[in-house]
């Protein structure tokens, strides 16, 4: 995918939002030290929602390995969010998504948003909207016919975020301990 200007004025929805205080670009391996802790923050937050989402002891190595693989994988997208102005070279968030094949359904390629994380100071003001718009465009460019998002069922904040933007539940995943 090509570069994204921070002035990405996605028209739909938040018309009064000023240009977001972040800039998105494809993540590089050199970003791993910044992105790994953010991914871990996100997974640790998921622990709050369900004990079956307890983070493994080796989660940090896992995060590094998975991010590294995804950065190189043409069927995956990892974008790094950088601040603007004084925060220009600081990675303040990221988004990770996969292109997944749908064996039985059409359209046959699904863009799955797996992780979106932004440091608290870089939320609101239309930032989430902007990130969602950018990743959706990138997934579409890779052939996705639908976009989905995976997050803990109890995460009401994520639930509201996506519902407000036209998403609806299509698959449920239920779990119990063994």
């Amino acid at each position: 995918m090509s570069d994204h200007g921070e002035r990405g004025s996605r028209s739909s929805g938040s018309g009064d939002a000023p240009s977001p205080p972040i800039h998105l670009r494809p993540a590089r391996e050199a970003d791993l030290p910044s992105i790994v802790p953010l991914l871990l923050r996100l997974k640790r937050l998921n622990e709050e929602f369900d004990p079956l989402l307890k983070v493994r002891d080796d989660a940090e190595q896992q995060a590094r390995a998975i991010l590294k693989a995804d950065i190189a994988n043409p069927k995956a997208i990892v974008l790094a969010a950088e601040g603007v102005g004084a925060d220009r070279d600081k990675v303040v968030g990221f988004v990770r998504a996969h292109i997944r094949e749908r064996a039985f359904y059409a359209p046959e390629h699904e863009g799955v948003i797996l992780d979106i994380y932004l440091l608290p100071l870089y939320r609101r003001r239309g930032v989430g909207e902007f990130v969602l718009g950018e990743i959706t465009t990138a997934l579409k460019a890779k052939g996705a016919g639908i976009v989905t998002a995976e997050f803990p069922a109890q995460n009401e904040i994520a639930n509201r975020f996506y519902t407000k933007r036209g998403f609806r539940p299509i698959t449920a995943v239920q779990a119990r301990s063994l």
Partner: protein, 478 residues
């Protein structure tokens, strides 16, 4: 850091000696607390609780009940049915509030449940009556969730002119106050948030004045991020305190926007989360010591343990710092120790030291004011008006390091606070009754003065028995 004035004693040694004396005083105060406790149990049994309802109308014979009750009362009900607002004119609603608790955080006792909270709520009702002339009904409720709490209070609101929430655990108390304030058209107050914060802000305004500082330029550290300090932070910001010079510190250190637990806070304590984003640690990270480096003001509302704030913390602050150590019953640092370390002004939550930051300076007058204005809510502007007037009350008698706030022995200030509250409610357009300043003041003086006369009259008539003299210790050994 060296001390300003040369002193023959080593300040550290003096501080240690004072700390030892403080500890001895604390031990004595614990003994005293035990004695008071025994006496309180005996008296509670003797008097059978602390409050009762008393008629406010003449009852010459049972025939009068044709007016006070059926059939006459039906017309009163019909009138209110036609215009519900008339319930403020035709019943005691104008002066009656509910003191509602779930007993989840009572005094320093913790989650003791609604029954055990009742004596505290009765005591609060007594304070409301004696200090504010307000009829307050203690209502501890057994509920399983914040939603059930909210629904219960909403259901009882038609009987009351205001709601005082009491002793509810943080952060649940924030959501309950916020939601009830939204749903009800009568004022809702949570004393542990608003009362404490208003009294604190009043003291701070005077402390800043006294040390030639301004709230617009001060650098302030709040230790503890519970009910009181989160609201103190909000009020300071509303007063123009620069957000980037305001640092909150809790057990995990400086509360800033990139702290690891922020996401968890967003879920479970959005109020603390918001303050974390607004202040972002006053551009600091680290621990209390890092936060206090060069700070003008410390407001500790945290752990009731002297030594939570240490002399070296105070010494690291700016020259002539302001130190409020508000934990009860034991302050985070003894006033003598803070002064020996250079504090120019010290306040605590205790009545046995100068400068007591005390909710009772605020809540009776605030309710007097909002009830007299028949206000629909209590926005922060009203809280700040009360704080400012309280601060002015002390200034009127002359500010000094030992006189930052009025004491309960300066009652003339309270009707003034009530009037300031009433004026603000009128100005904000939330008053059902728009009286003039002088009318609010006169009314508050009358209504706040009446209970003392009532209590005296009841005692004179022997309707309240005199205090029994028996010392509890002696009685027990008999």
């Amino acid at each position: 850091m060296t001390q300003g004035s040369p002193s023959r004693v080593d300040p550290d040694r003096a501080a240690r000696r004072k700390a030892r004396r403080g500890a001895a005083a604390a031990a004595r105060s614990e003994d005293r607390t035990d004695l008071l406790g025994e006496r309180a149990i005996e008296l509670s049994r003797y008097f059978g609780g602390k409050i009762e309802t008393v008629p406010k109308v003449p009852v010459r014979s049972l025939e009068d009940f044709a007016l006070w009750y059926t059939p006459g009362v039906a017309a009163v009900s019909r009138a209110i049915r036609a215009d519900p607002e008339r319930s403020f004119d035709l019943t005691g609603r104008w002066n009656t509030i509910a003191i509602v608790t779930d007993g989840s955080r009572v005094l320093g006792l913790g989650d003791i449940g609604p029954q055990a909270a009742l004596p505290v709520m009765e005591g609060k009702a007594l304070l409301f009556k004696v200090l504010g002339g307000v009829d307050a009904i203690p209502i501890p409720i057994q509920v399983g969730s914040a939603d059930a709490f909210i629904a219960t209070v909403e259901a009882m609101a038609p009987a009351f002119g205001g709601i005082n929430l009491e002793d509810i655990a943080s952060p649940k108390c924030f959501g309950i106050l916020e939601e009830l304030s939204k749903r009800l058209s009568i004022p809702v107050w949570h004393d542990d948030q608003l009362g404490t914060a208003a009294a604190t802000v009043a003291g701070l305004l005077n402390a800043l004045e006294l040390t030639h500082r301004s709230v617009r330029t001060a650098r302030t550290v709040l230790l503890g991020a519970g009910a009181a300090n989160l609201v103190t932070a909000r009020l300071l910001l509303a007063l123009g305190h620069p957000a980037r010079q305001l640092t909150l510190v809790d057990q995990k250190g400086v509360l800033h926007a990139e702290r690891e637990d922020l996401d968890e806070l967003e879920l479970h304590n959005p109020w603390k989360y918001r303050i974390a984003l607004a202040t972002n640690g006053g551009n600091r990270t680290g621990d209390l010591a890092a936060a206090l480096e060069g700070a003008d003001v410390l407001v500790a509302a945290s752990t009731p343990r002297p030594g939570t704030v240490r002399p070296e913390h105070v010494r690291a602050m700016a020259k002539d710092p302001v130190v409020f150590a508000l934990a009860n019953p034991l302050p985070e640092i003894w006033p003598e120790v803070a002064r020996a370390a250079g504090a120019a002004v010290v306040a605590t939550g205790r009545s046995d030291f100068p400068n007591q930051v005390n909710n009772s300076l605020i809540f009776p007058a605030v309710f007097r004011g909002v009830l007299d204005a028949r206000a629909r809510s209590i926005p922060d502007e009203v809280v700040l008006a009360a704080a400012r007037e309280l601060a002015r009350g002390a200034a009127r008698k002359g500010l000094s390091a030992d006189h930052l706030l009025p004491t309960m022995e300066e009652p003339e200030v309270f009707p003034r606070i009530a009037a300031a509250v009433g004026d603000t409610a009128v100005r904000l357009g939330i008053a059902r009754r728009r009286l003039s300043h002088d009318e609010f003041l006169a009314r508050a003086r009358t209504l706040m003065g009446r209970p003392a006369r009532l209590v005296r009259a009841l005692a004179r008539a022997r309707l309240t028995p005199p205090m029994p003299r028996t010392l509890p210790r002696r009685r027990r050994t008999r």
